[in-house]
């Protein structure tokens, strides 16, 4: 049993390393080409933080079964922490330009600080909030998400007017984390490493006593506590663990974007970083499947990108492209379609695994065949 597990780990590591090196070669070959630099690399950056964000919400929503609508608030905390820390370091003279080695250290520190601060705050919020369940929890997390945005807005040094001095945009872009298109290519490896590490850590969390406990809480909280599971401990811990990675996603976000504005994390925002949008990603991918979240984040990013930037949109009749001006309508439509036709999401609770891919496909095919035969038989009898 264990040798199979370690073989699986080895296989995964090898594949990840090969893919990673492939990516590195690709960037070094095509790094200066226009479309690669301006479209593909920024898209990968965005996908990276969306994947981490969706997977982290899946811990709370999919594995623990608690609806949290304030997840982007923790992401905002992470984004602002990382941005402010990097600016402070620049001002303190710790690095001068982004090719310095010391900048890399600042970058790592910013990402960690973003995660830790988000986790701390979610811990404080989680203690009272997680006493509630269902709709009540959704509303209170929604409220806390809004409170976080408003507090950030009104802090003198990180409000909408800018990060301390001058406009946030220029300052962050020039001196802080904000990466230009060249730096994005240069630091693509960093985004990939952070994403892979985050996903791995979350996967390890889910496949341990913690994952078992929170899935037990999702299935039946009363039975979980009657089996000796300290439900409030595991709930608050998972909430904080998930917020840590939301914070990390926020740090990646502030690397990707030249500007930081609280309105992009707000609940009323029609853009991609609305907390409901993340919920849509998790539901689409499958509640309880991290690989599902990763796939769904990519799909939703693609959909979002296409309806905003796709050339084909212009050729559509006005009535259709009119809808596309309200992306939230499209996301709502996606969510409704998913719930109607595949209520468990694309992956359900299935986790993609290289090692089990072939046996899994075989099993799924057999199951489908059996279902078909059953249906036929039912028809013959009916």
């Amino acid at each position: 049993m264990k040798s199979k597990t370690s073989r699986g780990y080895l296989l995964n590591t090898v594949v990840v390393v090969v893919l990673f090196i492939g990516f590195q070669i690709l960037t070094s070959l095509k790094g200066s080409e226009g479309s690669f630099k301006l479209v593909i690399v920024p898209s990968i950056w965005q996908c990276c933080y969306l994947m981490v964000l969706a997977a982290s919400l899946n811990l709370v929503l999919g594995f623990m079964g608690q609806l949290s609508l304030g997840h982007c608030g923790f992401m905002a905390i992470g984004a602002y922490t990382a941005a402010l820390l990097s600016l402070a370091c620049e001002r303190a003279g710790l690095f001068e330009n982004k090719s310095d080695l010391s900048f890399l250290l600042v970058l790592i520190a910013s990402v960690l600080a973003a995660g830790i601060l988000a986790a701390l705050l979610s811990f404080l919020i989680g203690i009272p909030a997680l006493r509630l369940k269902g709709d009540y929890l959704a509303i209170i997390t929604l409220g806390f998400g809004m409170i976080i945005i408003n507090i950030i807005n009104n802090l003198p040094f990180c409000g909408q007017d800018g990060l301390a001095q001058g406009s946030a945009a220029a300052s962050l872009y020039k001196n802080g984390l904000g990466f230009g298109s060249k730096a994005k290519v240069q630091f693509l490896w960093f985004a990939l490493v952070v994403t892979i590490l985050s996903l791995t850590l979350m996967f390890m969390f889910v496949r341990s006593k913690y994952g078992r406990a929170i899935r037990a809480i999702r299935d039946d909280e009363i039975a979980a506590s009657a089996s000796g599971v300290n439900t409030s401990y595991y709930k608050v811990l998972t909430f904080a663990y998930s917020a840590f990675f939301a914070g990390v996603a926020g740090a990646l976000y502030s690397c990707t974007n030249a500007t930081l504005s609280t309105s992009s994390f707000a609940f009323t925002n029609g853009g991609i970083l609305n907390s409901t949008f993340v919920v849509v990603m998790v539901v689409l991918g499958g509640m309880g499947s991290l690989t599902g979240s990763v796939v769904a984040a990519t799909i939703m990013f693609f959909v979002n990108y296409q309806i905003k930037n796709g050339a084909w949109v212009e050729h559509l009749p006005a009535s259709v492209s009119g809808v596309f001006e309200y992306p939230m309508l499209v996301y709502a439509l996606v969510l409704i379609i998913v719930i109607l036709f595949r209520p468990k999401g694309i992956f359900g609770s299935y986790e993609f695994s290289l090692q089990n891919l072939i046996p899994d496909i075989r099993r799924a095919r057999e199951r489908r065949k059996a279902a078909k035969a059953e249906r036929k038989e039912a028809q013959a009898h009916g």
Partner: protein, 257 residues
């Protein structure tokens, strides 16, 4: 003899009222190690409420629960389990989407000797603990004849086996007292007989005390050493099965006067 032994579970004047309704009043019971005690009564007599009081789901409005002489007032459900009281539910409550063996592993809360760090980095400690957990869970499943379905989802088991899985899960908590809430409800005679052997094996093997709520009178009369009868939240009789069966107020409660 009986006077010298220390009861493993004891309640003193235990009671709870919901608003003006006194669901249970003045409930006193002593259960000794290795004993099998039955708790019976008509529908709505307060049997399940007693179980909820004994497991910390409800906080009693009066009286105390003592485990090995230590009061458990103000503790939460998981602390009751930690102290050594485990239960099953009248309407089965399994972790439906988890596999059978995972259901048992969840309850092994006393055997989890690793933290977040070990879990994240998969240290040897993690593997060792997980291996021990699997062994323990499998041995418990074998006792309850569930080893062959260990990897199946819990919801896919037939009713009788789901009941047994609940018992296996309760056993995993290393409890001293096991509370069984209508374990034979909805079972056919064969399943009931199998369940009985299972309960007896557990009692012999672990030396635990069992408190049993049951409507199946033949089962209660056959296996319980002592029986306590509740009606409208009050104890109306207690004693050996024969004594209880002959008690006029018990007959009145069950059949009406």
């Amino acid at each position: 003899m009986a006077e010298e032994r220390v009861p493993v579970l004891e309640t003193r004047k235990l009671g709870i009222s919901f608003g003006g309704l006194k669901a249970v009043t003045d409930f006193n019971i002593q259960i000794f190690p290795g004993e099998l005690v039955g708790l019976i009564g008509p529908n709505g007599a307060g049997k399940t409420t007693v179980f909820n009081l004994l497991t910390g789901v409800y906080a009693p409005t009066e009286g105390t629960v003592l485990l090995n002489g230590k009061p458990l007032n103000g503790k939460k459900t998981y602390q009751f389990v930690e102290a050594g009281i485990a239960r099953t539910f009248q309407n089965i409550r399994l972790f439906k989407e988890m596999s059978v063996i995972e259901n048992v592993k969840v309850a092994c809360t006393k055997d989890l000797h690793y933290g977040l760090f070990s879990a994240s980095l998969r240290t040897p400690k993690f593997w060792k603990t997980e291996k021990e957990l699997t062994e323990k869970a499998m041995s418990l499943l074998e006792i309850c004849n569930l080893a062959d379905v260990a990897e199946l989802p819990a919801a896919s088991l037939p009713y009788g086996r789901q009941r047994k899985l609940e018992i296996a899960r309760a056993l995993a908590t290393d409890m001293k007292v096991l509370l069984l809430d209508e374990p034979a409800a909805g079972m056919n005679p064969t399943e009931t007989a199998e369940l009985l052997t299972c309960i007896n094996t557990i009692r012999d093997r672990f030396g635990i005390a069992i408190l049993l709520i049951e409507h199946d009178m033949s089962l209660v009369m056959n296996v319980c050493e002592r029986i306590q009868v509740l009606d409208y939240g009050q104890t109306i009789a207690a004693g050996s099965p024969a004594e209880v069966a002959a008690n006029p107020s018990v007959i009145a409660a069950y059949l009406g006067e």
